[in-house]
């Protein structure tokens, strides 16, 4: 990336790190800058340490990068943890009444704000934060008006007085910084564009809305709860039935019930909740009622680290429910892709009457990113497959008719002439149980084969992955899902160091298109799989499908996402043959 600027704000949970974050995001996005924001926080409501980094650039920003240009510590702890990580040219803006910097790295500018003085004593939490923003914007060479606008919107409900007060202190800090602090050499650029800012969870929810989801249910579980919150907030506007259920078992079963009635039904959870849903997925597969489940991964095993990211649920997805059955599993590669993939999965789940799984993770689902609002196209193709919603022949009707495609026309309850029972016991074409009376191995085999024939159809419906970058690059970086952005940026940085790398990002996990992947990797001079887990879950899965073994792996399982330089340094150490398994250490102690 030619140019980017990153601000980090840190403090204790409850100190209101989010507010200044949102203010910056609004101002950047309206300025026509792309941005990406990631909040490293803990599973507590108050105290602890949360650290939000927001990075802006005229180009697309896909991760929070490697460098903090401006640090705004809201407490001494943040100052102490992060100051030493600043590089020459960066600056720290802080409330000098309560915070003091210790051993400042050379080349780092310290910009103390006499908050008490600037606010004339009255000092609310919010104002203290507002001051930091004001000073920061002035140093970035951004005019004051945008901040005034955002503050005005923000405090609209609170009334004129509060607006005045906040705009006032913000201006005071803005002017003070103008006089006291060097501005950054190049002022924050500006473009004609206007961007929307959203999280992956919001994008997943909107994708569901676009797909025509009419029934959404969930049981709260971090980091997936954002989907529920968006759905609940928009339920009435969009005519979506949104329910919070007693547990995840109820969730998946309720969603399947709604799907069986004919709605597009969706639910979201994280690994622990998904574990409780797996039996339900088996039902979806057996009665051939589609359902879409979003799994937002967090660091495991078990309760693990609820607020930290990981790509550790892959084998749980692969092993979900017992027996063999058709399904589709996709892993969106960025926030916009969260929006795009959901309708795609619904079409496949509907056409092949099987469960569909969207595999996200905390990084993707809770990260904030900017997108061109025109890319949020709600007018998506909707293919419900062979769904019978009104009497139209197909008589005599056999719900599980044996067909070449394995797909049997699905009639929704309520239609005269299509009465049938959908059973999780093995059944015949007519839905009658074969496990009672005379179990019939011939029929059993036919039904297994009918269902499994759908796998070929799903495979055809899903495109093989494509290689990005020069075929003859000296290294191929292979990732899946959420790591696309950071790998992409690492490749840019490698290029700066004269190392050419190309990129294979896997978006569809099941079906995988192993042959196509092999065709690509056969031509690679060196292959490295990058993933955010301990055991190389994707590497093991890829091997199970293709026998392929990469030259090296880069893994991380400390709860924090990859930063570009982690990958760059790992690739370099692997290229000089120092290791074929790199596990980068995470520097920022959040």
């Amino acid at each position: 990336m030619k140019y980017s600027f990153a601000v980090s704000i840190g403090g204790a949970a409850g100190q209101g790190v989010a507010t200044p974050g949102n203010i910056f995001a609004k101002i950047f996005a309206r300025r026509g800058l792309h941005l990406y924001a990631y909040n490293a926080y803990q599973s507590i409501i108050r105290g602890g340490h949360t650290f939000l980094t927001i990075r802006a650039s005229p180009e697309k920003v896909t991760c929070f990068g490697d460098r903090i240009d401006l640090l705004i510590p809201l407490n001494q702890d943040t100052m102490d943890r992060h100051l030493n990580l600043l590089k020459p040219g960066s600056a720290v803006v802080y409330n000098s009444d309560t915070i003091t910097p210790h051993d400042v790295p050379t080349g780092v500018r310290v910009c103390p704000l006499p908050v008490g003085e600037l606010t004339g004593g009255s000092r609310t939490k919010v104002e203290q934060n507002t001051l930091g923003v004001g000073a920061a914007l002035s140093m970035m060479g951004v005019s004051f008006q945008p901040l005034a606008d955002v503050l005005t919107e923000q405090f609209k409900k609170k009334g004129e007085a509060v607006i005045q007060e906040n705009v006032g202190v913000a201006r005071a800090a803005y002017q003070y910084a103008g006089q006291q602090f060097e501005p950054f050499p190049n002022p924050l650029p500006m473009t004609e564009n206007k961007y929307a800012v959203l999280t992956g969870n919001m994008a997943l929810a909107m994708g569901g809305a676009a797909a025509g989801v009419k029934f959404y249910c969930a049981y709260p579980m971090s980091p997936s709860t954002g989907v529920l919150h968006w759905m609940a907030a928009h339920a009435r506007k969009l005519g979506i039935m949104v329910r919070q259920v007693e547990d995840e078992i109820g969730v998946i079963n309720m969603a399947i019930g709604a799907g069986h009635s004919g709605c597009r039904a969706m639910c979201a959870t994280s690994g622990g909740g998904f574990a409780l849903m797996t039996e339900g997925l088996g039902m979806s597969a057996m009665i051939e009622t589609p359902v879409v489940v979003i799994d937002v991964q967090r660091a495991g095993p078990s309760t693990g680290v609820p607020t930290k990211t990981e790509q550790g649920d892959l084998w749980q997805m692969l092993g979900a429910a017992f027996g063999d059955y058709p399904r589709v599993i996709g892993a969106p590669t960025d926030i916009l892709d969260c929006f795009k993939m959901v309708p795609e999965i619904f079409n496949i789940a509907d056409r092949f009457q099987c469960p569909g799984i969207v595999l996200s993770d905390l990084l993707l689902s809770e990260g904030h990113g900017s997108i061109d609002p025109n890319d949020l196209d709600f007018n998506v193709p909707i293919d419900r497959g062979e769904l019978i919603t009104e009497p139209n022949g197909h008589q005599p009707y056999k719900r599980y008719e044996i067909t070449k495609s394995g797909v049997s026309p699905r009639a929704i309850p309520g239609l005269p002439g299509y009465i049938h029972t959908a059973a999780t016991d093995e059944h015949d074409e007519d839905g009658v149980l074969i496990s009672d009376e005379f179990t019939n191995p011939v029929k059993r085999r036919q039904m297994m084969e009918k269902r499994q024939r759908k796998v070929a159809g799903i495979e055809a419906a899903v495109p093989p992955p494509e290689l990005v970058g020069p075929r003859d690059a000296s290294v191929t970086l292979i990732g899946w899902g959420s790591t696309e952005g950071v790998i992409h940026e690492a490749i840019d940085l490698l290029a700066d160091e004269g190392i050419t790398a190309n990129h294979l990002q896997i978006r569809w996990l099941v079906p995988l298109h192993g042959e196509a992947i092999l065709d690509i990797l056969r031509h690679s001079s060196r292959t490295i799989i990058v993933e955010n887990n301990y055991s190389g879950q994707f590497a093991r899965y890829l091997r199970s499908e293709t026998s392929f073994v990469p030259d090296g792996c880069i893994r991380k399982y400390d709860g924090e996402p990859f930063m570009p330089h982690h990958i760059v340094e790992a690739v370099k150490e692997q290229m000089i043959g120092r290791t074929n398994l790199s596990v980068p250490a995470h520097e920022i102690m959040v």
Partner: protein, 298 residues
């Protein structure tokens, strides 16, 4: 009461399923199936407007034996599935059947929460105080001392009382029946179907193969119809909870409680106030609404 009410368009044969039940001869479940068919016929509800949903168990095989739409789901999950079915298409009549293990054992949590939500379903628990399909283990309604394959020396766990439980969870229609009293059962099922909200009927349905304690001979002299007690007032919750404690030489059957002023879940969810069943609404979002959603983010 005739099997077919004069005005009905349907007879019980209209509800005959694709296959005959393979329950043991004498199983109480035959009576429940028969009464359910009669109730539907007498209410003149078209087969295709009904969805019968069950879990897993001998009793849960019922949907395969009746000519309505059916779902034979997972053990213990019928009520959750049924809630989804009903909310997605509230024009359908949803009947849930299953066993005591299915509904009060593994399914207990859904039972509790479906009642407090007052989902408009009719739930027939075919209660034989045993796990039948798995060949005879203790159930949540088995009495202390009952000997089963999993309690060969007698159960030491107190049973649950489905009626008390339903009352405590705020169910709006609560009854107990006995498959040996088909007319009475049929009448209660009809009331349950007509009730707007969650209706629960705990039906004693003897397992002639594995439960040698709670047989027809055991039930017959004990069951006593609440309807015969003129002083009994099924709108009186306290009266109901007191009656529900009776178990011994006298076991009350009949309608314990009905409240008609609790809104059903689909009745209190504004999304369903207009526009008809969700399942029949058109998918997709207009460009305008889409734009509004995007604008929220700018």
């Amino acid at each position: 009461m005739a099997t077919v009410a004069a005005q009905s368009q349907f007879t019980v044969t209209d509800y005959k399923g694709k296959v005959d039940p393979d329950w043991c001869p004498g199983c109480g479940d035959f009576g429940v199936l028969a009464s359910l068919k009669s109730a539907l016929a007498e209410l003149s509800i078209a087969p295709h407007q009904v969805v019968t949903i069950s879990g897993i168990g001998c009793s849960s095989n019922l949907p395969g034996y009746i000519n309505t739409y059916g779902m034979h789901t997972l053990h213990g999950r019928a009520l959750a599935v049924a809630t989804g079915v009903k909310l997605a298409n509230h024009d359908l009549h949803v009947i849930v059947t299953g066993g005591d293990g299915d509904g009060f054992g593994i399914g207990g949590n859904h039972f509790m929460h479906t009642m407090r939500r007052n989902v408009d379903l009719t739930y027939l628990a075919m209660d034989n105080q045993i796990y039948g399909l798995t060949t005879g283990q203790v159930s949540p309604t088995s009495r202390i001392g009952m000997k089963t394959k999993s309690t060969p020396f007698g159960s030491v766990e107190g049973p649950i009382n489905p009626i008390s439980l339903a009352l405590a969870c705020g169910a709006s229609f609560i009854a107990r029946a006995y498959s040996g009293e088909p007319k009475h059962l049929t009448d209660l099922i009809k009331q349950g179907i007509l009730h707007k909200g969650f209706s629960f009927i705990d039906v004693f349905s003897p397992c002639v193969t594995y439960n040698k304690d709670n047989t027809y001979q055991w039930f017959r002299p004990r069951v006593k119809k609440l309807e015969q007690d003129s002083a009994y007032d099924p709108t009186n919750w306290m009266m109901a909870i007191e009656k529900a404690q009776l178990w011994g030489d006298e076991i009350p059957i009949g309608k314990f409680f009905e409240s008609t002023d609790m809104p059903s879940l689909h009745g209190s969810e504004p999304v369903l106030f207009e526009g008809g069943p969700l399942a029949l609404r058109k998918l997709g979002i207009s460009r305008e609404v889409g734009r509004e959603l995007a604008e929220e983010l700018m």
